[in-house]
Symmetry: D2
Subunit: 307 residues, 4 copies
């Protein structure tokens, strides 16, 4: 996220990031948000060119009205990047970024994003992330899994990933969240892979736009508990899932990705949940990958996704 | 609908109803709703067999719990059907239907369903219905179009279909609805093809489960006005449309069909509306066709669709 | 399959088979194929009714032309089924089935289908099946996995399923197939979860319509080797996967299920393969589930799928 | 197309082209193809900036291997564009384009693309294009329709578009094509909206990458005649349609867009054709719109589509 101060996210050459880059060459990703104005592409590309960099991909978007916002995602290759990135970063900030009043972030793609996962008892979203990670399909390092139940310890440890049990009760919620916060320190992103505890707004504020949740409905339909039963009761013909950033307001954070699947009157609540699990795991995996590939920019309560 | 007393809906041999029937042979459709119990298929099929009928398609569904409901849709071929249908109907009512306490309806497929359309200024849903009808893709007779604007008169009359202008104001709403009711008398179904007036509950009660509306959102998300703007403001990644029966409660009637289309941050409200028009016209056409083919049974606030 | 003489396939009450059956009550599935003719539903339902059975689901389909074929799938509940199934089966065969010249099969749903899996080095399709099985989402018993590589032994044994290594070379192909045949004896279905050896027509003949393969393209496009490269070279905008029964003719057996995913010019061959893996595992799981739930009937080189 | 020398394609402000441009401000679209190399974005954006232009959208893509190709599509706003476009064009050609050895084309978006349509008897693809055009959803001028049958004259003339009847027989094919070529002179694009005559390679050569055809199958499956029957005979579970540029080799030109729809064993050939018509008209409309918005670049036998 643009609000993230560290520049530690990576897009590895083995990833599905559609670039033409030679894996041996250093690359970086630059995210920019500013007021729409003439000359941005020119200024940025000129700056990179002066350092000898080559633009690999460039995506931009601006909102349609007067006083609109401008967003850019740019990957460039630059031989010997790690030696000069501090200089590059400082210089860019003092010149181009200052001149155009940009909010911006630069990422050395050689450094992997660190991701921690929170889960309760449902395993489908968690295991799908671990699997994809093991196969090299997730561009990040999964550091650990925290759960308020012991059930999934074995499954997680089979992947060689540390598992921490942090029980949560009515009485210990604040202490439990403090413990989770400490266990997760050092991560760049927390993923709620069907974590069934509501995080306090204090906790959420410490991880601004750094927590992704998978909600098991096509939001904004069916907020709250047991959405598949709500969907069944309503008789909808499609059910869905939504990956979104967690904000203090429950189920209302910026949506990153959604998908749906067709159902009929024949599917009961149990079948809806089974179908839903498949949607959930796919939607969450896509959202996490886009985040760690620095493809998501939050603006207001919405996302710009350069995918 | 089962609550419809007339038996005038048709499934023509030229339709897409997937039957193996010889168009020269008479067919009928039987819809049944009753308490789930043993022996229904046996009783019904035995009755039809005794008349020399041959079952072409049989769909059934029962709800999963004790005291569940049972639903059946059955098409059969019976040579010389029109000569004996009154006898068949009376006899079925006094024997099988009575014994199993059925709500039921029999349709001679040689008689076409009569459909009237209400529209305002948007033409896409209306014209798609007229087109499909002209090409033989809608199994019904479109009798007339009523609009509260003159704009679409020419487009409708080009298809050889009568167009009636019934202006609606704050002051004449009751009179206008009375006029519409009279103009539409004799129809079996009213289709609101983006009719932008809210029908009174008095009007709706006179056409129970006989009015289909196309709502331009994926209900229950975004009820009410301007759903594409709501979808834009929310930043959803899929937009949709919903065809449903009209009940007294706005946007809350039983859902017949829904579909969605993927969008991104790049689409503004205008683009969302354009994409939405394509979804709307397809969803409405499917819902209307299923209704006139007697594929839809309402139960509570949900639908069973045998498609 | 109808050609399968054993009646050992199951649809457990915990499955997603959409039935209203009480899990404590015995159920069976009846598959029928015969010439289209009047009175079939009547005869079958009357027979079941006489035994005190209650029809839970009934699907039928007949081909559209003269001399057409008729297909039926019927589930019924019958208390104490296992005590009288032999009598039921014999009696049905001598009366209804004989009279209508039916090819048919009866399955006591209390007995689980036995499934063996063949795999090479790709793990995605295999592991997805093992996962779904572990979660109770596949209505069968997975008995063992055979591979021509050792790579996936640990992954399989983690699920508590026996793993057999049967290397295949140019010289030992016949012996290897004999060994596989013996290891797999007792199974009702073999699943090729990306098994990269072509089975001999001798082997295939011993498992008629009892081998399901996942082909990594939208057949009949891109038969043969490396379909994702073929798709890339052709520049198609959708890629897909196909689950089909294995016949002596490579990639030409009856198709059970297919699905596709949208791609663009930006995806290289590596990305196409990654996207394809997701399609493959979902398509294969659906096809296997439909088979073990007795939802698939082969007719000619096509399938009727009652799902 | 890049091979098209004229600069007469338009992206109107009322279109779905996702830009933030003020409709009162002049815009142009620049398409570039060259060898991948450092500094392209910098050179192009610097050139536009020097003229006072503001980049609205910029899409680029480069192939993944050494010696790769580079593609760019760029829209920019420039007040008073029409007065200086000749100077701009000449200057760009002599400097940036020459230095980077670019194939390129500049389009003044105030000038509309001229499109002629060829059709036979099927009306669905044609009428959908005329409708969308009438509603302002196609960014082009439709100049005329040519058909080898009289059937659709009235339907076309209802839209106020000239209709020309050019019968084609075995004996007059060359003359007919000559007549079509003359009638279509002045157009930038020909659309075959189910035109059932095979155009000679001589004709095709005169309209290089300027003819779009809708093929009624998911190519490369089911080339040749009656693809829906082929699909039915094969028993595929999805049917589709493909919009592609016409080349001398039948059904083998670069694919612009494809889509599919799920079918089952229940759909006969007639139903497949009906479903197919809906896919065809949507796929063709998308392809035509992308072409006239200059979103398609042909490379080899594939397309890069910036949509």
């Amino acid at each position: 996220m643009l609000s993230n101060k560290t520049s530690d996210t990576t897009i590895t050459a083995s990833s599905s990031n559609n670039t033409s880059v030679n894996p041996a060459i250093d690359t970086a990703t630059l995210l920019i948000k500013c007021k729409d104005q003439a000359g941005i592409v020119q200024a940025v590309s000129e700056f990179i060119h002066r350092y000898g960099g080559n633009i690999i991909t460039l995506d931009q978007y601006s909102t349609a009205h007067e006083g609109g916002q401008y967003f850019m995602r740019l990957e460039f290759a630059l031989s010997g990047l790690s030696d000069i990135i501090d200089n590059f970063e400082a210089s860019f900030g003092h010149t181009v970024a200052k001149r155009h009043n940009m909010t911006w972030r630069l990422h050395d793609n050689a450094i992997q994003t660190k991701v921690g996962i929170l889960v309760s008892k449902f395993d489908h979203a968690l295991l799908d992330l671990l699997w994809r990670h093991q196969r090299g399909l997730l561009d990040c390092e999964i550091t650990s899994v925290v759960s308020n139940h012991e059930d999934l310890r074995q499954a997680v440890e089979n992947f060689g990933i540390p598992f921490h049990y942090v029980p949560v009760t009515k009485d210990n919620k604040a202490e439990a969240e403090e413990q989770i916060h400490e266990l997760m320190a050092g991560n760049d992103l927390l993923v709620l892979a069907r974590y069934m505890q509501i995080l306090s707004s204090d906790f959420v504020k410490r991880w601004p736009m750094q927590i992704i949740n998978i909600h098991h409905s096509f939001l904004p339909a069916f907020v709250g508990a047991d959405p598949y039963r709500q969907a069944y009761d309503k008789g909808v013909k499609l059910i869905g899932a939504t990956a979104h950033y967690v904000t203090a307001e429950l189920d209302q954070g910026p949506i990153i990705e959604q998908d749906v699947h067709r159902v009929t009157h024949r599917q009961g609540v149990i079948e809806l949940r089974a179908i839903g699990r498949d949607i959930e795991r796919n939607v969450l995996a896509r959202a996490v990958n886009w985040h760690v590939q620095n493809r998501v920019i939050v603006t207001g309560n919405k996302t710009v996704v350069f995918n």
